[in-house]
Symmetry: C2
């Protein structure tokens, strides 16, 4: 009899898992439960449709429903799983009753942190997540004159830019002194703030939300520690929290972030139960600090690993060094591992190498600034983190590289002596990463 | 008494050396001899001025003459060094007589290989090198209706695209079956050839030059193994050969390529004589095969190392894994170390991982193809080479990374499990390098 594997969740992790199972065990019966109407679209693209960069939500659809039927994956849409019984090895499914599994993958994703203030039930509060809701909200956005984005999280940063591009009077409120403070450094974000101001965005930092204020059940204004801001729309972009309700109720072990604890095979504390994606927490490769809410790329890769193992294969998920990147205002920001702010918060000592480089030959049209900041462990000078801000070109590829450099223990010496492509239209004589490493070494030599 | 260091050559290697000396020994007397009117411009930009992408030759000037005066570097312009006497530690300088040195750096650069056919003395043959000559030739190009580029070398590839952009009927002749055959693979160059055809370029492969044919001392046509091609202009882009005349006459050891042999400190066989740049040969990091004619970035870095050591410091030049990249037609090509063609020629066995990936989310405007081909050592699966062709974004940064990956012995497993940034506007869910590695492993698993 084919093995029956149940996957809870139809996002990147859940679908990665379903594919992973089928890859190692083509005969396995694979059922995916999702509470939504669709799977296989890119939620990460939603802010860019709102911003007008992508012309329609249809573009975000990656595969039709038939693709999963053809792959032998049985997706149950708009179907809620209400409980897991790890002893009986069943899940309780609304409308289906108890469904037996041989193997289970939990990929229940995230929720936005509850803003925890009065007025959360008003019309006009938008939590960006589901593509069908996004298409409805896009009509609301079309008629919106004033909007507030609550918190400069990664999604908040994207939505601020999107609403400003849309010509809406856009406000951003955030309790920290600068945007994306949980991951980026202030000097990296400074040009982003400047470019938002150029777009007419109103920035309210060191500002906490106190209430959503309504009028006839509809949002009228946001009450904040810096005063009232009138707005018809609030994009609530609070940080992501793991959706751990089912796992928690089933007694599966959770970690300090609330994420499901998994081993290096994405296995949970329960027998025959794996987990992947935003519902889990993953230790940082250098510090072991649990991380929660990584990217869709991580979720997909974790899903693949969970599915491979749930399907009877054997694949480890490698430690994460977290390359990241995103457009922000007119810039692209990115990095790997952590920056100065996080290192300082964690009490991790570091030495710095910084360079303001360029993306092409200085004289070639379209040349853009590329600022690179490298953090290295004192003594060994091994790379432990990096942050960048630039005009766009190559930030993502450099972030990928720097995460791998951290994984492989590359030092400032290794990066200072790295070869680089020089071709005027695509690369400058001196690669900014190399110059940053050389500057770091020169600073150390001066101090010595 | 300050140490007197003489540098022969005012290109990237020579100026890198001059700066390297001053960095470790600010009191050193540093004299640079150049036969040209200028130093400190970017010759690599010349094809892009011809192509119209860069508006004028002035843009290529990096620093004025005063910058070198200020730095304490004494540049003798339009001054030829005619001999080196390593026993007497002097150089013979036209107009100056014998000049004593304590330390010498030879950075005499390259010459284009002599095409070795009749008619080489005709007007209308353009060897791209010097910025003042380039400005004069640009006026000739403006009046040119038909041009032939001789050999699809890196410069030839750039000049074909430049002349085609300029609206000139452009022909390319090359003895090999496809362009850039000394370094790139045919599948990488196929889209480039197609884009040249779209630009109206006439491609003549498997074609050797037999003579330049003249009329009243001016070029009228090129006689080739495939017939005559009428043209008023021939860009002679034959391969680079080391300009080793002075070193050779001085009895300094040359290698199999004709390049000056240097140790890992860029020291030649003669006492107190270093060399750097295109005049030298450098062993390939994996194979030890001597390489000659690398990029301006290599020349500059080698010059820095030679200068640092000549100035009394101690710096090794790391083995080269040769990241490279250049626009070609409407594509950007690049890679690191070698591709299949070179590996096969050298008798080096390899396994392949290939992917046709994308530069951004599939649905994001401006998304471009990125083909990645990885060569790994059978058994260990260590990366030994890579080639790419793509729409532009990130080819240079990926080439830099892949060269470093080779240096650090990364395997297909390491690359298959690499994390990557996913953000729709700047990176796809799956990084093409990762997919190529995964495909390579999947192919091996199928064969096993």
């Amino acid at each position: 009899m084919p093995r029956k594997t149940v996957v809870i969740g139809g996002g990147a992790a859940g679908l990665g898992a379903a594919g992973g199972i089928k890859a190692v065990d083509p005969d396995a019966e694979v059922i995916v439960y999702t509470q939504f109407e669709d799977v296989a679209y890119s939620p990460c693209g939603i802010p860019y449709v709102h911003g007008g960069e992508i012309e329609s939500f249809d573009k975000l659809i990656l595969a039709g429903k038939q693709a999963y039927v053809d792959a032998g994956i049985d997706v149950h849409y708009e179907t809620e799983v209400t409980a897991i019984d790890t002893a009986a090895k069943t899940v309780a499914v609304a409308g289906e009753g108890a469904v037996r599994y041989d193997r289970l993958v939990i990929a229940t994703g995230f929720d936005y942190a509850d803003p925890g203030v009065p007025g959360s039930d008003l019309d006009g509060l938008y939590y960006v997540k589901n593509i069908r809701r996004a298409a409805e909200w896009d009509k609301v956005i079309a008629d919106t004159k004033r909007a507030v984005v609550v918190e400069a999280s990664p999604l908040g940063v994207e939505m601020v830019t999107a609403l400003a591009h849309r010509g809406i009077e856009t406000h951003l409120i955030d309790p920290n002194p600068y945007p994306l403070a949980a991951m980026a450094d202030p000097d990296i974000m400074a040009p982003v703030e400047e470019s938002w101001r150029e777009l007419g965005v109103h920035l309210h930092f060191n500002t906490t939300l106190e209430a959503f204020l309504g009028d006839g059940g509809r949002l009228r204004a946001l009450k904040t520690s810096s005063g009232e801001i009138e707005a018809e729309l609030a994009v609530v972009a609070t940080h992501k929290t793991p959706n751990n309700r089912l796992a928690s109720a089933a007694g599966i072990k959770l970690g300090s972030t609330g994420g499901i604890v998994v081993d290096d095979h994405m296995k949970t504390s329960a027998p025959d139960v794996w987990a992947a994606g935003d519902a889990t927490e993953i230790p940082h490769g250098l510090t072991g600090v649990p991380l929660q809410g990584l990217t869709g790329s991580h979720a997909y890769a974790q899903g693949k690993v969970a599915g491979t193992n749930a399907g009877g294969g054997d694949r480890a998920y490698r430690a994460v060094y977290v390359p990241w990147g995103t457009p922000a205002g007119k810039w692209v920001i990115g990095g790997a591992s952590f920056g100065e702010a996080t290192a300082t918060a964690l009490g991790i000592p570091y030495v710095l190498g910084v360079a303001e480089g360029i993306s092409r030959a200085r004289y070639y049209p379209g040349v853009k600034k590329v600022k690179v900041k490298l953090l290295a462990e004192p003594g060994s000078l091994r790379l432990i983190g990096a942050q960048m801000v630039g005009g766009g070109e190559g930030i993502k590829e450099r972030a990928d590289f720097l995460a791998q450099a951290i994984r492989f223990g590359m030092t400032l010496h290794d990066l200072a002596t790295m070869e680089n492509v020089y071709s005027p239209a695509i690369g400058a004589l001196n690669e900014p990463i190399v110059v940053a490493a050389q500057n770091g070494l020169a600073d150390l030599a001066k101090k010595a």
